[in-house]
Subunit: 354 residues, 2 copies
């Protein structure tokens, strides 16, 4: 049985999208139970329309809902201990839930997750991982915006975290890992990326196969299973790809609607277009996974619909089912056992800062 805690108030549409999304999951998976947190007056009327979902859910009323435009500090101040978002995360910490899903605002969810669950012992900073469709299937990209900048050791943490997620989610035995860099010869890339590359090459980890540097156009090709980068470039890349896909989609719709001949062609090829649309459906890869915390938290897009929210929930479900956290812990232990120097160097670097 997999137990999932849900911040029902999160997202642009709150319970009106979240509850129907959960109902879809309840139809498709038999071994799932939900812990729902939200405002009773908003949640109950919608939940009553889905008796099958209600039967496998426990509902807890919360007075406070974190707003989509709350700053993380505001959200913590008003929402800690009592908001639906906090309660959903706390259920993971308390061992009542195996993972937590929220479509609420990213900054607040990350702040609460860090505060409540804490980062894993050997991890400096959590990362947000995203799943990208590629020519080869799907790849994992991290960090897509948890923090700006990352030193070489943090990039190595991200590589270990992302590789564990790739194994848990896609069953890839030894995923390939690439470090995002720029290929222009003259500039040769950031120092920390170069250092991380050298360390990863020397480490010869069993949990991954280090591929080397990759560039922006490797995302679409799916050159590696796991793309590692710091959060600024990762966030820019993610949003640039989304924006480019939308732009081309709009060009395509415009082209197919312009002439009678094009409209006839569209009718004949409708099934092909449907297939294409399905392949490009961002809802299916909805969900930013917070990695490096003592618990699994999945952030759904705030503006998604019920199918998209269901996808985020099923992403969490799959990762729990495949023992993501245990894999991460085992990989981290193995790495630090074999590379005690890394921890020592990190501690020394920390001392230098103080």
């Amino acid at each position: 049985m997999i137990r999932i805690s849900i911040d029902v108030m999160g997202g642009d549409h709150g319970p009106s999208v979240v509850i129907p999304g959960l109902a879809k999951v309840a139809e498709r998976r038999t071994d799932v139970r939900f812990l729902l947190y939200g405002k009773s007056e908003e949640v109950r009327p919608i939940l009553e329309k889905h008796p099958k979902l209600a039967a496998i859910s426990e509902f807890v009323h919360c007075d406070i809902a974190v707003r989509m435009d709350d700053k993380p500090s505001q959200a913590l101040r008003h929402g800690r201990w009592k908001s639906s978002m906090w309660k959903a995360v706390e259920a993971v910490k308390a061992g009542q839930a195996d993972c937590c899903i929220s479509a609420g605002n990213t900054g607040a969810l990350m702040a609460m997750s860090k505060f409540c669950l804490r980062t894993m012992v050997t991890i400096d900073r959590p990362a947000i991982a995203s799943i990208w469709p590629t020519m080869r299937g799907e790849s994992i990209v991290l960090d897509v915006g948890a923090t700006i900048g990352a030193d070489a050791h943090q990039l190595i943490d991200f590589a270990i975290l992302g590789a564990a997620m790739s194994r848990a989610l896609f069953g890839i035995n030894r995923p390939t890992v690439g470090l995002l860099n720029v290929g222009v010869e003259e500039i040769k890339g950031q120092e920390e990326v170069k250092e991380a590359g050298q360390l990863l090459r020397e480490a010869e980890l069993m949990s991954m196969s280090y591929h080397g540097f990759v560039e922006g156009d490797d995302f679409g090709k799916g050159t590696v299973d796991v793309f590692v980068t710091e959060g600024f470039a990762g966030n820019i890349a993610l949003k640039t790809a989304e924006g480019t896909a939308r732009f081309i989609g709009s060009l395509l719709r415009e082209a197919m609607g312009r002439t009678t001949m094009a409209k006839i062609g569209y009718m004949f090829a409708k099934r092909a277009f449907d297939r294409l649309r399905e392949k490009m459906d961002v809802r299916k890869s909805n969900g930013g996974v917070f990695l490096g915390l003592n618990g699994i938290v999945v952030k759904s897009h705030g503006g998604t619909d019920d199918e998209g929210f269901a996808a985020a929930v099923e992403l969490g479900y799959d990762m729990v089912r495949n023992g993501l956290l245990d894999r991460i812990e085992a990989d981290l232990d193995l790495f630090h056992a074999r590379h005690p120097k890394t921890m020592a160097a990190r501690a020394a670097a920390e001392d230098d800062k103080e």
Copy 2:
């Protein structure tokens, strides 16, 4: 009369693409003259097939051609003073040409351009600007990879350079300028981006309208006329967009070729698809423009065909015709006359470094 110097040996295919590309320009523009630099035995036989081009060109033999995989330092060592790339850039410095086009390797071309032309007096670092198709038309993005990282003052330089290019190329009187940032509340963006934003807002420049921060998905929307960022994120974004477009193109081709119905549909809608392909034709926006130097240098994609090379040449032509360099100089003078503090602060920052 516009005089353009050409590194005929540059690019993956050298003279076999460059010469036919120039021949296309010669067909379309009457007031252009070329200075061609390359290896006589490779260039002459192809040039002879294009008498109209030959009639408006002067050819200069060079013993050395910079290779596509030369490192900038190698290229400078072997190619300075005598390679076709160097000679083409030097023609701009000597006043024999109004701008220079090369499809040779970016690092080498930038190194030679900096060495030969030098950066403008008030500019720390040159940038590479690229033209992106968007839902609204075309936008300028810089820096897409001249250097990694940029402080607030360098970002302001990029804004001034990009705005001048937008006015020269698209005739936009007061282009909108956005600073690329990440929207996640918690992280709030890089310090230098925030500082640049504040300075640009306070400066109230006549040459541009400062829009504020933009994110990765604003590229596709064309939210602003000029996107400003440092070279690492800019390069990642550019290549991510190119890779995403190729990925979707391949999905579309696959979808249209799978079933008989789809193939029939494709035949009916063929003209619509042709229009779409033309809109997405990367050749048309071929050309990275080096800004901030005492002269105009355009880098064509190394792997482009004759039509793509012609587009890069015509980009240089248009910028010369519209007085890009004079605009940049006037804008920089105006900015520094009104903001003497900026120069003083920059000088102080330089002193601190030493």
